[in-house]
């Protein structure tokens, strides 16, 4: 009986006595919505965050004007390194900075062209940093970009997150989550990539993709090239516009999905050929000039022209990527899975840049919409 009393007393005390070191009111935490990084003016790093105005994220109340006020504000500081920058940020905010609800990270292209290893190391060590948030690159000043009040008056992190979650935005903004960036940099079997974001009429727009070689940004690809890359990565819901031969007009397709097979093949001389076989299917969305009915011959012609167009696009994309020495599409992984022993001995970027690309595409029209 005594034993039980002692145990119960210790138990109860252990729950209460040690105290509540980690209790912190939600409203007194400074929760950055977006973290942005740039090259500093005077110091090495510019470290900033977007916060929401306390009390502003409530549902709208009829008769009040609160829902029309700007809901976000930006604080940016400079530091010698990221930790110094974080420290300076903490000095400016009224309460502890809590990254557990971060929605996006935006880095400037200047910053990205420096080595992002330090940034990844810093960000990854935070215990509650969400790993599935997107990392984006911008060519403009990230501070100004994040400080705009967009038309929907949604705070920037929520806006970006909503935009990138949409299945129809994915082909243009192939999601490059933080954990994928880590995986790329660690495995060295593919290179990181990040959507490019810019302002467009007081809203945000995806403007292509930033491509990296290792942990440095080396260039960008356009929106059209990003869509082609999405096809190779089998991301559905693309759109495609094909200029028909002999000035016969245009054909546009929607809900495009692809299945791609990439086969690396090394010949005896050690030259790599990457064979890309792609089967694409989609529905007709627009025909210029309009057709009453798409006949079987029309279908075949449209399909072959679309296939040719895709092939041309892939060729163009690959030559762009190879010239920049960036492999965001994961060909290195395929090579490693087929030639694991050779992988250890070669420099992948060199091999990749000199690889031949062999493309075979097929296009199938599966739907014509509400018209024939």
């Amino acid at each position: 009986m005594h034993l039980k009393k002692w145990l119960i007393a210790i138990l109860v005390l252990s729950m209460i006595l040690p105290g509540c070191w980690d209790i912190e009111e939600l409203s007194s935490r400074s929760m950055p919505n977006v973290l942005f990084l740039d090259k500093g003016n005077s110091e090495k790093v510019k470290f900033g965050a977007v916060f929401f105005v306390p009390g502003s994220l409530l549902p709208p109340v009829v008769g009040t004007t609160q829902q029309f006020e700007k809901r976000n504000f930006v604080i940016s500081v400079e530091g010698k390194d990221l930790t110094d920058g974080w420290n300076n940020l903490r000095a400016v905010t009224t309460s502890s900075v809590f990254f557990g609800q971060l929605r996006a990270i935006v880095i400037s292209d200047e910053f990205a062209r420096m080595n992002i290893d330090n940034f990844l190391d810093f960000v990854g060590r935070f215990p509650r940093m969400p790993l599935n948030i997107p990392v984006l690159v911008t060519k403009s000043d990230p501070e100004k970009l994040m400080d705009i009040k967009n038309k929907l008056n949604i705070i920037p992190g929520n806006y970006i997150s909503l935009q990138l979650e949409s299945p129809y935005a994915k082909p243009q903004a192939i999601p490059g989550s933080l954990w994928e960036v880590f995986a790329a940099v660690d495995n060295k079997t593919f290179d990181p990539f990040m959507p490019l974001i810019e302002e467009y009429k007081e809203n945000y727009r995806i403007a292509g993709m930033a491509v990296f070689s290792g942990s440095r940004m080396v260039g960008t690809i356009s929106v059209e090239e990003t869509e082609t890359a999405a096809l190779i990565k089998e991301i559905p819901n693309s759109l495609l516009t094909v200029k028909l031969a002999d000035n016969q007009g245009l054909a546009s397709f929607r809900d495009i999905s692809s299945s791609t097979k990439v086969t690396p093949k090394l010949d005896n001389n050690g030259i790599l050929t990457l064979r890309i076989q792609m089967n694409v299917k989609g529905g007709v969305s627009e025909l210029i000039p309009r057709k009453q009915t798409i006949t079987l011959q029309d279908k075949q012609r449209l399909e072959s022209e679309a296939a040719a167009s895709i092939k041309k696009r892939i060729g163009k994309l690959m030559s762009n990527l190879q010239s920049q020495g960036s492999d965001p599409l994961g060909f290195g992984e395929k090579f490693k899975s087929v030639y694991p022993q050779v992988w250890k001995t070669v420099n992948w970027h060199q091999t990749y840049q000199s690889a031949k690309i062999d493309i075979d595409t097929r296009f199938t029209i599966d739907q014509t919409g509400m018209f024939r």
Partner: protein, 366 residues
Amino acid sequence: MLKEKTGIGPGLLFCLVFSSVFGFGVMNAPYIAAKYGGPNGYWGVILAFFLALPVMLITVKMGKKFPNKSIIEYLPLIFGRFIGKTLGFILLILVLITAVWGTRTITDLFSEFFLPRTPVWAVTLMIIITVGFVAHKGVEGITRVAAFIFPVALVFIFMAVTMSFQGFNIERVQPVFLIDGLKIPYNTIQMFYCFFPLATVFMIYPYLTEKQKGLKTVAGAAFLAIIPIFIMVFSAIGIYGDKGVLRYGWPMLQMTTQAKLPYIFQSFGLFFAVTWYSQIALSLAGLYYTSAQGFSELIGASNYKWLLLVLLPVSYVLVLLVPGLIELRNIFNYLRIIGFGIIFTWPLITWLISLIIKTGELKHAS
């Protein structure tokens, strides 16, 4: 029905073995598998299970030879009093160190991830008291808690396992049948650490009421526990790549924090962490109970409960003696090898010697 006696049925033992193996094994499984096995690290998990099967079989056979006797009690009968007790003592020290290591790992994880400002001693105190309270209830109490939590935990575990395949890339786990020197055997030995909690079974096997179901129960539970571990290792390597996994201190948690149930929870990983905590707490409770019961049998004390109250503060001190996570990881490197040596080889040698010198009951005990 009302007579006081300690006995556990196969169902209870099944749940305890599952909790123990899963809770303990899942801690560092992807890291160890990727480090020593590379992209084929998942093979180590499967082969480690086959390596553990003889241990389970021998436990059952020894249980038949020495009914109602735990390993601490029959070691002296086989090796003689002095050597038998020494071997028993070393085994118990291993169990205690394993429990201390497990406690410190879970403490560090929760301290780093959930409670960064709470001092380590406070988190350790809370965990040790919780685990100690469960262990204090004895084998019946521990197994009943395990049985009660089992269905819920199983659902959560398999949900976490299924949802954590987001971002999986098949090329990262290929080629599947790559033989790269002695990587696979060495990886198997390293992955055997998942079965260290089988030491609990050495001690509590005499309490099993339906001994004819012993092997099926223990092997079945271990197999069920290994399945999610295997899937998690497979998916970790497939998502992060074998080199990518090595970046993380706790790849399991990182993987499950990615798992997203849209509109319900931001990250399922925290629920998984709570489920996992319940499993590891049961595993640790089993190990602490084993060491208390073992020591009480070794020194001839009647009640393990008093010994448990002595062992818990000792464990608390030992847990806090480790200065930090880096030292803890270093200790684990040695613990895996020593543990394999003891948990795998000793039962085998014990059984062989018992066959040679023909001790124990030859017939099946009623």
